[in-house]
C-alpha cells in the first residue's frame, strides 16, 4: 500500500469517527422527534412486529393505499380487513413484506393484491418508498432483493443513518410531535419538472399526444413475474387465497397512454397460469373510470371514489368470502 493511500485511509477513519460522534450527539437531541417519512409506514411496521391478525389483507401501491377503504370492508364482512399498501410499493417489497407478516401473524383468509399497474408489477424505477420497508427485513431477504434488482439505494439506506435525522430535524424545528400522516392534496400539485423541462401538467399533455409505447405498457417484467409466482406459492402453502385486482384509473388519462387491454390480458394470463382469481376494475364499462369527480389526480381515487371502488370490490369479494365462511 502506498504511503499516500495509507495516510488517506487513516485520515478518513479519523474524520469519519469524529463525524459519527458529532452526528450521534446531534441525534441524541433530536431522536425523540424521529419518525419515518409517513405515519403509514409506522403502522405497517407495527403490523409486522406486533400480533395483528387480519382476515382480509389488501396490498398494493398508492392506488390501493388511497383507493380502498378497509374499514368499510370490515363493516361489511364483519371481520378484520386491513389495507397494508404503501406508496411506491411493488411486487418484490410486497413478497418480502408478506413473508415477514406471516412469520408473526396468523395467515389471513384472503390476500387481495393490486396488479396491472407499473408500481406493483414492475420494480425499482417506479418504487419510491419501498426501501423504507425493505431495510427492516432480514439480511438474507435484503440480499435476495439486491441480487434481483442491483438497487444501490437499499445498500445506501442501510449506511446512511443520518437521513432519518434530517427528517426529524425539520419536525424538531417545527415542534411537530404528531405522528399522523395526511396525504397531500395532489390535485393542487403542478410543478416544473427540470428533467423534462416542462410543467407536469404540460408533460401529461405531451405524453398523451406523443407517447403510445411507454414502458408502463410492459405489464409484468421478468423479476416481477418470478416474484408473483413466489408470492402465489407462499400464500398457497399457508392456505391463503390470493386474488388479483386492478383498480380503476381515469379514462381520460392513462388509458390514452397505455394499453389497458394489453395489461389486463397479460395479468389475466398470468393469473390463469398460477390459478388465481383476477378482477379488473379498470375497464371502460366501469362507471368509476368515467367519473372525474371520483379522482383527486390523474391516477388516484379520492374519498368518494374510494368508497365507490371499495363497494365494487366487496361485490365480488363478498361472494367468495361468504361462500368460504
Amino acid at each position: 500500500m502506498s504511503p499516500d493511500l495509507r495516510k488517506f485511509i487513516y485520515t478518513a477513519l479519523i474524520f469519519a469517527g469524529i463525524f459519527f460522534i458529532l452526528d450521534g450527539l446531534i441525534g441524541i437531541q433530536i431522536k425523540p422527534y424521529f419518525m419515518a417519512s409517513a405515519g403509514d409506514y409506522l403502522n405497517i411496521y407495527e403490523s409486522l412486529t406486533d400480533k395483528n391478525d387480519a382476515d382480509i389483507i389488501f396490498i398494493g401501491n398508492s392506488h390501493t393505499e388511497h383507493g380502498l377503504d378497509s374499514s368499510l370492508i370490515s363493516e361489511m364482512c364483519r371481520c378484520q380487513a386491513r389495507n397494508l399498501s404503501t406508496s411506491g410499493g411493488n411486487i418484490i417489497s410486497t413478497y418480502y413484506f408478506m413473508r415477514e407478516y406471516l412469520e408473526k401473524n396468523n395467515p389471513p383468509k384472503f390476500l387481495v393484491l393490486q396488479a396491472g399497474d407499473a408500481g406493483t408489477t414492475g420494480f425499482q424505477q417506479y418504487g419510491v418508498h419501498y426501501f423504507l420497508l425493505l431495510h427492516k427485513l432480514s439480511g438474507a431477504d435484503q440480499l435476495g432483493y439486491f441480487m434481483q434488482t442491483f438497487d444501490l439505494n437499499l445498500v445506501a439506506k442501510k449506511l446512511v443513518k443520518f437521513y432519518q435525522y434530517r427528517l426529524s430535524l425539520r419536525r424538531y424545528l417545527n415542534k411537530d410531535l404528531t405522528f399522523s400522516y395526511k396525504a397531500p392534496d395532489r390535485a393542487k400539485i403542478d410543478t416544473f419538472d427540470p428533467l423534462i423541462g416542462q410543467m407536469l401538467s404540460e408533460r401529461e399533455k405531451t405524453l398523451i399526444s406523443t407517447e403510445n409505447s411507454r414502458s408502463v405498457e410492459i405489464p409484468l417484467d421478468s423479476a416481477a413475474l418470478s416474484y408473483l409466482a413466489k408470492l402465489g406459492s407462499l400464500m398457497s402453502n399457508r392456505g391463503v387465497k390470493l386474488i388479483l385486482v386492478t383498480p380503476p384509473e381515469p379514462l381520460t388519462w392513462l388509458h390514452l397512454v397505455k394499453s389497458t387491454t394489453a395489461i389486463a390480458e397479460a395479468v389475466s394470463k398470468e393469473a390463469g397460469v398460477l390459478g388465481l382469481l383476477y378482477y379488473n376494475f379498470d375497464t371502460p364499462s366501469n362507471p368509476i373510470v368515467n367519473q372525474p369527480s371520483y379522482f383527486y389526480d390523474e391516477q388516484h381515487l379520492n374519498s368518494d371514489g374510494a368508497h365507490a371502488y371499495t363497494l365494487q370490490v366487496w361485490d365480488e369479494l363478498g361472494k367468495i368470502y361468504v361462500g368460504n365462511n
Partner: protein, 491 residues
C-alpha cells in the same frame, strides 16, 4: 444515476476502491462497466445509442486520419451527419415536424408525417458534442486518431461527465486514459473538497431556490413585479447552483480517480459584460461553439466584415439556445443573447467613451458595479425564457416585471413577498438560502482574488475540519429531501 442520490454514495467509493486495487491493465474495463451502470440506471436501452456512436466515430476517426483530400472531408461529413442525425431524430425531429405541419396547415396542404414517440436519451447533446470534437480535431490534424477502441470508449463514456459535461476535448482527456494513475492524497482530498462544495451548491442553493422559483413561476399570472423579479433572480441562482454544482461533483470525482476535467464555470455572475459572461458560463460549450462554429464562420474565405461578424454571432447564439432544447423559448433565449452581443459590438466605441469618462472622474468602482448589475439583469431576463414553459408565459412574465413596484417602500409589501405563501419556503429557509448565496459569492470572490490560501488552506487542521463538518451537517440537515434531478441532464 444522480450524483445527489444515495446510490452514488455507494457506487462511487466502490468504483474508486476497485480502481486503485485493480492493475492498470484492467482499469479500462472497470471504468466502462461503471460508466455503463451509471448511465443505465436512467433508461438502460439508450446505452445502445452511445455504443453505436462510439463505433461510428472510432472507425471514421481512423478513416479520416488515413484519407486525403475530398475523401477525408467525406468521412468527416459522414461522422457529423451520424452524430447530428441521432441528435436530430431524438431531440429535434418533433420540433421541426410541428413547424412544417404548421406551415403546411397555413397553405391547407396535407402533411402526413406524424410525430416520433421517443424519449430523449439523457445527456445526448453532451456526448454527441464531445464525439464531434474528437473527429473534428482528427480532421484538423491536431489530434491523432485513437486506434484503441477501449480508450476511445472511455473518452466518450467516462461517467463523471457522461450526462452533463463538461464537454471535453480529446487533447485534454483522451491521453489521460492511457496514463497510470497512482493514488494521490492531495488530489483525493482536493477532489472530495470540490465534491462537497458541489453538493452545497446543488442541495442547498439550487434545490432550495427551486421551491421558491416553482411557486413564483407557477403563480406568475397572479404575481406582481417584485415577486417576478425575485423569481428570476432565484432562478439564476438555481440554474447556476444546479449546473455548476454538477460540474464541481464531476470534476471532483474525476480528480479522485486521477483525471483532470476542465472547469466549466468561473464566477459568471460577476461578469462585466455579456461576452465576458459567456467566457465564464458553461465554458466547455461556449468554447466548443466558438472553435468549431463561430471562428470558421467569422474567419471565412472572404475576410472579416462587420455584417459577417454580426450574423455569425446570431447564428452561434441561436444554436446555443437550440442546443438546450427543442423549444421556441430556448431559441429565443439564444437569440436574445446574440442580440445583446451584436448590440454590444455595435455600441462598443461610445460605451468605451462613457466608461473612460466616468473612470477619469474616479468612479471606476461605480462603473464596475453598474456593469456587473446590468449584465446580471440581462442574463436573468434571458433565464426567464429558459424557465418559462411557453413563449406566452415568458412574455407575460417579462411584461409584468415592473407592475406594483410603487409599493416597494412598504414594509408590509416586502413581508408579503418574502413569505411562505409566496415562496413556499419558511422564514428560516429563506434566510438560509439568502445566506448561502452570500457565502457562495464570498467564497468565489476569495477564490478569484487568491485569498482562499490565507483564509482557509493555511489555517490549522481543526479550523479546516470544523468547516468541513459544518458544511456537511448543514447540507445533511437543511437540504430538501428527495433527490432532485439536475436541470442540464435533459440536454
Amino acid at each position: 444515476m444522480l450524483f445527489n442520490s444515495l446510490q452514488f454514495l455507494v457506487f462511487f467509493p466502490t468504483v474508486v476502491a476497485l480502481y486503485y486495487v485493480l492493475p492498470h491493465r484492467f482499469r479500462w474495463l472497470l471504468l466502462l462497466v461503471a460508466s455503463s451502470y451509471f448511465y443505465m440506471v436512467f433508461v438502460p436501452k439508450y446505452i445502445l445509442v452511445i455504443f453505436a456512436l462510439i463505433i461510428v466515430d472510432y472507425v471514421l476517426g481512423i478513416c479520416i486520419e488515413n484519407a486525403q483530400g475530398s475523401r477525408k472531408k467525406l468521412y468527416l461529413v459522414g461522422s457529423i451527419c451520424a452524430n447530428l442525425g441521432v441528435l436530430f431524430v431524438f431531440k429535434y425531429f418533433n420540433f421541426f415536424n410541428d413547424i412544417f405541419a404548421g406551415l403546411a396547415g397555413l397553405w391547407h396542404l396535407n402533411y402526413p408525417v406524424s410525430a416520433l414517440t421517443l424519449l430523449l436519451p439523457l445527456g445526448l447533446s453532451f456526448h454527441v458534442f464531445q464525439s464531434l470534437s474528437y473527429v473534428i480535431e482528427v480532421y484538423r490534424g491536431k489530434q491523432k486518431a485513437e486506434y484503441d477502441l477501449r480508450t476511445y470508449a472511455q473518452y466518450v463514456m467516462f461517467f463523471p461527465q457522461l450526462v452533463a459535461g463538461p464537454i471535453e476535448r480529446p487533447q485534454h482527456l483522451l491521453h489521460q486514459f492511457k496514463e497510470l494513475h497512482s493514488f494521490n492524497y492531495g488530489r483525493a482530498v482536493s477532489g472530495l473538497r470540490i465534491i462537497l462544495w458541489g453538493f452545497f451548491k446543488k442541495l442547498i442553493i439550487a434545490d432550495t431556490a427551486a421551491i421558491g422559483v416553482n411557486h413564483i413561476f407557477n403563480s406568475a399570472y397572479q404575481a406582481e413585479g417584485l415577486t417576478l423579479i425575485l423569481g428570476a433572480v432565484l432562478f439564476a441562482y438555481q440554474l447556476y447552483g444546479d449546473f455548476s454544482g454538477y460540474s464541481d461533483i464531476a470534476v471532483g470525482s474525476a480528480r479522485i480517480l486521477g483525471f483532470d476535467l476542465i472547469n466549466n464555470f468561473n464566477r459568471p455572475y460577476a461578469s462585466h459584460s455579456i461576452s465576458e459572461f459567456w467566457r465564464k458560463w458553461h465554458i466547455s460549450l461556449s468554447s466548443w461553439l466558438r472553435d468549431y462554429l463561430y471562428y470558421p464562420m467569422v474567419l471565412g474565405s472572404k475576410g472579416i466584415t462587420r455584417m459577417r461578424l454580426y450574423i455569425s454571432i446570431m447564428i452561434t447564439f441561436v444554436l446555443i439556445g437550440l442546443w438546450h432544447g427543442a423549444n421556441w423559448t430556448y431559441v429565443l433565449m439564444g437569440a436574445l443573447h446574440g442580440w445583446y452581443l451584436v448590440f454590444g459590438a455595435a455600441s462598443r466605441l461610445w460605451r468605451d467613451k462613457v466608461v473612460n469618462l466616468l473612470k477619469s472622474l474616479k468612479l471606476s468602482f461605480l462603473v464596475s458595479g453598474v456593469q456587473v448589475a446590468t449584465t446580471f439583469a440581462l442574463v436573468s431576463l434571458g433565464w426567464i425564457l429558459f424557465r418559462s414553459p411557453t413563449l406566452n408565459d415568458a412574455w407575460y412574465y417579462i411584461l409584468h416585471l415592473g407592475s406594483g413596484l410603487s409599493q416597494i417602500y412598504k414594509l408590509s409589501y416586502l413581508e408579503s413577498i418574502f413569505s411562505e405563501q409566496t415562496l413556499g419556503l419558511t422564514h428560516v429557509k429563506i434566510v438560509l438560502l439568502l445566506a448561502s448565496i452570500a457565502v457562495l459569492e464570498l467564497v468565489q470572490y476569495a477564490h478569484a482574488h487568491n485569498l482562499l490560501d490565507k483564509l482557509f488552506f493555511q489555517q490549522p487542521h481543526w479550523v479546516r475540519w470544523g468547516l468541513y463538518y459544518a458544511l456537511m451537517f448543514f447540507i445533511i440537515y437543511f437540504a430538501n429531501s428527495g433527490a432532485q434531478p439536475f436541470i442540464y441532464f435533459q440536454f
